[in-house]
């Protein structure tokens, strides 16, 4: 059958990694161990086999049909081994002679394997390059999940209409040269967890009786046979349009993305003997609009290209596991109807002044309130403030919108390009400020300490300095993280071809690049863009090293 193609492919990835290190006794890290050498290998072997059957046919010149069915399988094994020793007579042999060290370190080795099997099917159909239809269904089986839930099923469906290919569209083609409207639904899965996470394997632990080491074994987790795929369902509708011979391009998308059965390390009661367990937990929804505008203007001598994109996203927790209404997680709360990354803490209410000790002393959280202590709002209205009971949602780390804007100008050999990006409406937990505003005299303090409350400086914003402050997480440390940043400016000059050819060179380019030159923000931490945290705890700045402001120059010569 001439329209049928059967394709079998087999591929493999072999990675051989060798790690060697030596900490000489002449540096601080190697001083105590008197030299430490280590050598090890970490190898991975992956193979992928794809078998597909494709049927394509054009019927009557206008019906284009393409059908695919297939089966793919993938398997990967990792192995590692390391050995090392310490206490060398001198630093001459590095890691090449571990037996020369006096103390052998415990060698270690490990192995892990994962497998993924997938059945695929897809139908593509288009009529006269005007109407497009795609439907697909795939089933994936992953070894990583529990024995009851290895398989996930992921359908998708998409239709599109290239309006500009219709005959009736011809009259307006000078203005709108192409326009396409499209909508799609698709399900995707996530299996990005480690191996053996559903199994109750044993971990080895050591204990010392006298001078003898003994090895014990204890379960590493509670087994979870139901651990399965994290599933994302996405609806999308959009328009792509090109104007004036593609000088202006516009893309608009609206989407709703619902992710359920999230793979999360869920806190469980410590009475189980464990602190957390990997489970499929909760449902999160993201919906929003994305807009992209590209322009390309000019001629061969002068041109201006720009690219602007902006996206508005709204994040919402639809359901939490075990029918819970909310969970607290450090400085965060996960509550139905609120966003991921909602901060949960106390609300500050000024500073306790000398005259108010009797009336407001109960709102400081201190057993013996003194003037200058910070006051907090009594959220639950029980007439006293306690850290645990008087917390509320105090902003979230999700931005209202983020944007990026790139402009590139060229004039003859010169090129100037600038990238501006920004985020608006997100809050950041300034963890560094929280640590620096303890004013306990035993560590560095923020300059705000200069305004600390004293009887002669009755501040209404900054508390007194004291030896044993109780660290209360409050809205004082949740700041507006909105920013606009000129992320990159590049200026370059290409030597004219005539000149470079005379120098027997293909091209010569001079370049100056400035990174992070200007940032406009009210955030008081080092860098509004650098925060750490996980999916459920985004937007915490623990004083991470900020993105540096750099200016670099370059000369690029191509021979």
């Amino acid at each position: 059958m001439k329209n049928l193609v059967f394709k079998v492919s087999f591929g493999t990835d072999l990675i051989f990694n060798k790690e060697k290190s030596y900490l000489p006794s002449t540096i601080y890290e190697g001083l105590i161990t008197n030299g430490e050498g280590r050598i090890g290998t970490a190898d991975s072997r992956t193979w992928l086999n794809e078998n597909t059957l494709t049927y394509s046919k054009i019927v009557g010149e206008k019906h284009n049909l393409n059908v695919l069915a297939g089966y793919t399988q993938q398997n990967s094994t990792k192995e590692f081994v390391t050995a090392g020793s310490q206490q060398f007579v001198n630093d001459l042999t590095y890691y090449y002679s571990l037996q020369s060290g006096n103390v052998a370190l415990m060698p270690s080795s490990g192995e892990s394997t994962w497998a993924l099997n997938s059945y695929l099917s897809r139908v593509n159909y288009n009529y006269d390059s005007k109407y497009f239809l795609t439907a697909s269904l795939r089933a994936d089986g992953s070894s990583r999940f529990g024995k009851n839930n290895k398989w996930g099923y992921f359908p998708s469906f998409a239709v599109a209409w290239q309006i500009s290919n219709e005959a009736f569209f011809e009259p307006v083609k000078d203005v709108i040269n192409s326009i396409k409207i499209r909508t799609s639904y698709g399900a995707t899965g996530n299996q990005e967890i480690g191996e053996y996470q559903s199994l109750s394997t044993l971990s080895s632990v050591k204990y010392l009786f006298g001078d003898q080491i003994y090895t014990g074994f204890t379960p590493a987790r509670i087994s979870n046979d139901d651990l399965g795929w994290e599933l994302t369902n996405q609806f999308d509708a959009g328009v792509d349009a090109g104007f004036f011979d593609d000088k202006l391009n516009l893309t608009v998308d609206v989407y709703r993305k619902t992710t359920k059965d999230l793979l999360l390390a869920v806190q469980i009661p410590h009475t189980t003997g464990f602190t957390s367990s990997l489970q499929n937990f909760g449902t999160v929804q993201n919906q929003g609009i994305e807009l992209g505008i590209n322009t390309a203007l000019g001629n061969t001598a002068f041109s201006w290209n720009s690219n602007f994109n902006i996206s508005f996203n709204k994040n919402k927790i639809i359901a939490l596991g075990n029918d819970a209404e909310f969970y607290t997680f450090g400085n965060y709360i996960l509550r139905k109807g609120e966003s991921l990354g909602t901060f949960y803490g106390a609300v500050t209410d000024g500073i306790l002044q000398t005259a108010d000790i009797a009336t407001k002393g109960a709102f400081t959280g201190n057993a013996t309130p003194k003037a200058g202590d910070r006051l907090y709002k009594d959220i639950n209205g029980d007439g006293t403030f306690t850290t645990a009971a008087d917390r509320t949602s105090i902003g979230d780390a999700q931005p209202d919108f983020i944007f990026g804007f790139t402009n590139t100008f060229t004039y003859r050999g010169f090129e100037l390009s600038a990238l501006i990006n920004g985020s608006v409406g997100n809050k950041i937990l300034n963890g560094n400020a929280q640590a620096l505003e303890l004013y306990n005299g035993q560590q560095n303090a923020s300059t705000s300490a200069l305004d600390a409350w004293t009887p002669t400086n009755p501040s209404t914003t900054t508390p007194r300095a004291k030896l044993d402050p109780a660290p209360v997480f409050s809205d004082r440390f949740v700041e507006d993280g909105s920013f606009v940043r000129i992320k990159n400016i590049t200026f370059s000059y290409n030597l004219p071809k005539k000149v470079s050819e005379k120098l027997l060179l293909t091209s010569v380019k001079f370049r100056v690049v400035g990174e992070n030159l200007f940032t406009f923000t009210k955030y008081t931490g080092f860098d509004p863009e650098v925060t750490n945290g996980t999916t459920i705890s985004p937007g915490t700045d623990t004083g991470i090293y900020p993105a540096s402001k750099t200016i670099s120059g370059g000369l690029i010569v191509t021979f």
Binding site: F6, L199, S200, L202, V205, G216, F217, S223, G273, F274
Partner: protein
Amino acid sequence: MKNITLYSLLLIFSLSACNPLDENPKAFIGTGNFYNTTEDADAAVLSIYNAINSSTHTLYNRLIQISTEMATDDYEAGPRARNAHVRALSNLTHDASNDRMLEIWRQSYDGINRANVAIDNIAKNPNLNSQKDKDLINEAKFLRAVLYFNIVRWFGDVPLVLHETKGLTPEVLNVTNTPEAEVYAQIEADLLDSEALPEVQSVKGRVTSGAAKSLLSKV
């Protein structure tokens, strides 16, 4: 021609047997392959000792010492004690959010669970019935009793968990407090059992009948 299609489809589906999805870790022992010999049982009991004293901030290293003494007038949080939770203990302003208290709670139940794992799995295996196996169960019972004796004195009513936690349903995970008197009754029962331990253990440092008798007298 049709046959070729058929064969290729058959080939595709027959391949699925080549790549099994069952996980059989080579570098880890599964709980299903363990607790079969006296050596396995011994390793299960040894892991309880590890839970009560391994690194710096474990129960019988510094954790209990700091957390209890700091709240007395024997210890004061000096200028070098920068941890706010430790300072709170010293000032007696600590509450349920204190991380030292949380660690005591967590590590105690970690040890209790390890003891429950050892007791359950040794007892249910009919091949593990030598005197040594019985001693191991009693050793685990003693260690469980020590841990409950500690937390019942700190917290009063506590959940009395006496079997390995299996499963993740809310009914299994969420346990309720047991009245103090019942916890004490269990401690007493465990210690009475562990009095049957040998008077001298071949390895110095392991629990003996003398240890069980002295702790029982204190309880």
